[in-house]
């Protein structure tokens, strides 16, 4: 098991988890999101190939109303 932080919340995942599997777990559609891993944006096409590691800090963001 690995421990990662997603949007500031602690989250325990199985080893081998990828960004894709994390998003699936969270039931989030990749199409309208952006993801940062340890302060670097991960391109959408790399989600499947991005293996998560213990201690990773993940930010999952979307557009909301703003001015």
């Amino acid at each position: 098991m690995i421990d990662v932080t997603v949007n500031g919340e602690a989250c325990r995942l199985e080893e081998g988890a990828t960004l894709s599997s994390l998003l699936a777990l969270l039931r989030l559609e990749a199409a309208r999101l952006a993801v940062e891993r340890n302060r670097r944006v991960v391109p959408r096409n790399d989600y499947a190939g991005t293996l998560l590691e213990d201690g990773d800090r993940i930010e999952v963001v979307a557009f909301v109303g703003g001015g």
Binding site: V6, L33, A34, V61, A62, V64, G65, G67
Partner: protein, 258 residues
């Protein structure tokens, strides 16, 4: 730059009004206001997805992105670094290089930190962003933003959401004199239609607003008002107004009175 459409970074927009997506009572009201505004660009904020209380509805379901360009902002960022991170996320989410760059320097007024703004602009331009910086009405800062590669200058007219209108017409006029090769977009402070018209009459290229529409009694009606006001101000600027004079000048001829 009279005549023709608004051009930002080589792309033409039919409308000179840019509106926000925040603070509407509902998505339905927002959509109606967008429609009435005729805007072809709307600002959006970048925020963490709420992992616990996910509603089924998404902002993007309510924006016709075929007709409307998204302009992600960096609202709420207080340092160049935060703003740059947020801009990158916004680009990834929106698949577009446009960013409304905000680096806030004061919580009460939401005035920009122009020094940090300049740093962030330089960094983001290098990364290929089309940077639209929210700044003060200081023309010296504006020239540096231009030299840093900004695609437009977006001075505030008054504090965000204050509705106080353009508080310093002298500074805005001087800014327009100084910056002739980039669009000037008044961003923040507009309260009602005449404020938008005034900005355009000063020769600004566009107006960006959120609260004045979203917070109006009838947002769609106010959006229609703003659309007409921006068009009116632009037309008046292009038409060339009469000079101001202290004394009267009769409209009817002095000759031929009975």
């Amino acid at each position: 730059m009279p005549g023709g459409p608004l051009t930002i970074a080589g792309r033409a927009y039919g409308s000179r009004l840019i509106v926000g997506t925040g603070k509407y009572p509902s998505f339905e009201v927002m959509r109606a206001a967008h429609e009435a505004s005729g805007a072809e660009m709307v600002t959006v904020a970048v925020r963490r997805v709420d992992l616990t209380r996910r509603s089924g509805e998404s902002l993007l379901d309510h924006i016709d992105t075929r007709r409307i360009t998204l302009l992600p902002n960096t609202a709420g960022c207080h340092s160049a670094e935060e703003a740059i991170r947020t801009a990158r996320l916004g680009r990834e989410a929106g698949l577009s290089a446009l960013v409304k760059l905000e680096v806030i320097g004061d919580e009460t007024t939401l005035f920009p930190d122009t020094e940090a703004l300049l740093h962030a602009t330089r960094a983001l331009v290098k990364e290929g962003f089309t940077v639209l910086p929210y700044t003060s009405d200081d023309l010296v800062v504006a020239r540096k933003l231009r030299d840093a590669g900004a695609a437009a200058i977006m001075p505030l007219g008054a504090p965000i959401g204050s509705g106080l209108g353009i508080r310093n017409l002298v500074n805005l006029r001087l800014l327009r004199e100084a910056i002739t090769d980039l669009p000037i977009i008044v961003d923040a402070g507009v309260g009602t239609a005449s404020d938008a018209a005034v900005a355009m009459e000063m020769g600004c290229d566009a107006v960006l607003m959120n609260t004045a529409i979203a917070g109006a009694g009838d947002p769609a009606a106010m959006a229609a008002a703003m659309r007409k006001a921006v068009e009116a101000g632009r037309l008046a600027f292009e038409a060339g107004r009469i000079p101001r004079r202290l004394h009267a000048s009769a409209s009817s001829p002095p000759e031929g009175l009975i």
